[in-house]
């Protein structure tokens, strides 16, 4: 794919790595916010190739991992209802609720369908006027415009059998929450490139200033990640804490005004409980009152659900970068991608799954490798 492959060029990656090795003189802990960046780092083996001085702390930028348990349980309750066609991104299918997941609901006869885009769910609603179609609207700011447009269309076109179960989370409040945590070790951030494609970079200078951390807007291909790290290390080494855009081909300072206007209309800020982290004030979006009719939480009576997290699961500490996945006692034993206890083991860029899938080699005691 043009403008994608070029950013995986191994020779250029080598040059960037050389620059990083040359620049780093002491230990630095950098958090990449976005789960897609975590996936890329581990899948290409970038963390193995960085100098020992650089520690990448995997952030909570995996909307799958941080979707509140209460919302998952509500989704499961809705999906289990016979008149419902429950549509979702593939990522959510295996995320464990208190006792089940969407995949098991599907096996038990629930009509659960994986779609690529929320517009597919709207089409399904039009094709099935006698069923209730619910779309699971999770994601960060990147996905919010798509979900917003979909419910906006539903309202405009009067597609009454469609509703949205919303659980959007926002990056800047998460950065604040991480930096305010007493055990925080993060010294710099790679900001999420595609979130900034939508929102621009204007929310970040305040954070960089308040917490004295470099924030470098970074893409997802290997060269993008390495360039983001390179610029971050240069800032750290020279004592700067500024916002830089290392993903200029897809990010402008002001972001996408048309998308932002839609977001203002469709969503309003709310407090959100991040699974494994806890409540972060003003860190989420819910449907605004203008769209209350299309809110699945209003349409379906799913109150009074008791949620129960696994007592063994330490995904919260993993999400905040306080422990590494293999330091959890359940890692690889009670908790595996096939039987995940928490969301970080389900999503392919949840830190635990990433470690399990890609890093078991080093973690296996008897391994010897070249």
């Amino acid at each position: 794919m043009k403008y994608l492959e070029e950013f995986s060029n191994p020779e250029l990656a080598g040059k960037l790595l050389d620059r990083i090795h040359a620049a780093a003189t002491r230990r630095w802990a950098i958090m990449e916010v976005c789960g897609g960046q975590t996936h890329s780092i581990i899948r290409h083996g970038i963390d193995q190739l960085l100098p020992d001085e650089i520690e990448m702390i995997h952030g909570p930028g995996c909307p799958v991992c941080v979707t509140p348990l209460e919302i998952i349980d509500r989704a499961l309750a809705i999906a289990a209802q016979p008149e419902v066609i429950f549509c979702s991104f593939g990522d959510m299918l295996r995320v464990p609720g208190s006792s089940r997941d969407l995949f098991r609901i599907k096996s038990a006869g629930g009509d659960v369908r994986v779609v690529y885009s929320p517009l597919d769910a709207l089409r399904i609603a039009r094709e099935n006027p006698d069923r209730q179609v619910v779309f699971f609207g999770i994601g960060f700011e990147t996905t919010a415009p798509a979900n917003a447009m979909t419910v906006y269309q539903a309202k405009r076109l009067g597609i009454k059998n469609f509703s949205l179960l919303v659980s959007h989370v926002l990056v800047p409040p998460a950065i604040s929450a991480i930096m305010e945590s007493p055990a925080c070790r993060v010294q710099a951030f790679l900001a999420a490139g595609h979130v900034c494609s939508v929102m621009g970079t204007t929310e970040y200078p305040t954070l960089a200033e308040r917490y004295r951390v470099p924030i470098v807007v970074t893409g997802f291909e290997p060269l993008d990640i390495l360039e983001g790290i390179r610029r971050t290390v240069l800032q750290l080494e020279s004592g700067r804490h500024e916002v830089e855009n290392a993903y200029a081909r897809a990010v402008t300072t002001e972001g996408n005004p048309a998308a932002q206007a839609m977001l203002l209309d469709v969503f309003e800020r709310t407090d959100r409980v991040w699974r494994g982290i806890g409540m972060i004030p003003g860190s989420g979006w819910r449907l605004s009152s203008r769209y209350a009719d299309f809110d699945a939480e209003n349409r379906f009576d799913v109150r009074g659900i008791r949620t129960e997290e696994s007592t063994l699961c330490r995904s919260g500490e993993v999400l905040q970068g306080l422990i590494k996945p293999h330091e959890c006692a359940a890692f690889g034993k009670e908790c595996t991608p096939r039987n995940p206890l928490g969301a970080t083991m389900v999503s392919s860029e949840g830190a635990c799954a990433a470690y399990y899938l890609y890093r078991r080699l080093e973690l296996t005691p008897a391994a010897s490798h070249g």
Binding site: M1, P10, H44, R94, V115, P337, L357, T364
Partner: protein, 380 residues
Amino acid sequence: MAEHARTPVDTPAPVDTPAPVDTPAPVDTPAPVDFDGWTCPVPLRDSPTIVMGHGGGGAMSGELIEHLFLPAFGDAAAAELGDSAVLPTPGGRLAFSTDSFVVKPMFFPGGNIGDLAVNGTVNDLAMSGARPLYLSTAFILEEGTALAEINRIATTIGHAAAAAGVRLVTGDTKVVDSGHGDGVFINTAGIGVIDDGVDIRPQRATPGDVVMISGPIGVHGVAIMSCREGLEFGTCIETDSAPLNGLVQAMIATGADIHVLRDPTRGGVAASLNEIAKAAAVGIDLVERDLPIPEIVANACSLLGLDPLQVANEGKLIAIVAERDAEQVLAAMQAHEYGKEAAVIGRCGPAHPGMVVARTALGGNRVVDLPIGEQLPRIC
């Protein structure tokens, strides 16, 4: 199967075509269904769809066999059809395999469920080094399925069997209530013969062996995904479904020490290599740069967030060969129609037994894990 001798097929009168299936035109052009001579009651005879009576074993079933299946199967079908196929005992060891095919959609770019039903079992037999000889075909048909669709599938089965050089010797048809099947389910079972001296099984993978693939990966899975609801995308990629028994025999004929053969179907190369690594307790090291991945497969996977190593193949095989014979086997593969783009993709080794590890293009490494369940597109 009820006793019926084959009768010559009259020049068929064309039948009203049901609503066209929204896919590219099939490779095999089936003869229209010949309703002349059907004895079932007129309203049913003129019904272009399957009804419960077609599975009842009586006159209607017989006509379905005689007027649809047998003509469609063509030369590949055995001339005599008794209750069971009576076959000569071949020399050597017997290989026996069965597989059921439930793919949705049934018609996809480049083929249909009929191709998979024949090639799937032919290839399972071939992967143990057997020469496939005979297949059975059992159908479970949903009431209401269009006869024209079944005709297309059956015609494809006939062509695929002829191409693979196997005989269709027995079979069965049952009908289920509508809503209980999804159109057509097919089971095929196959018998083959393994010549003396051939010993091909996963346990034989040994450190030092060379791992090869017969051609580009991920093709079938992407072709299927391109027409699956909720994921549709436009592409010109077609399934790679193919019979690999000829390729396997060409490889065996070199006299090389072939240890393992495996066709990486569901779960892709990742699943097959993991199974082999565990069975043989060896480690397998892949080199990502050496994996032949067509650009369109790579792009579709990038779009949906999938790993090409986990995407299904229906016309490819993995060969694990003793090091000293690897070059010879590779040459034999490349000389064959279905192995032209064969490539070395890795090696077996003593490190990390039971695990498959890939060296990334950047020079790091990552574990290639066994896929869990169906591959799902992701947004993250």
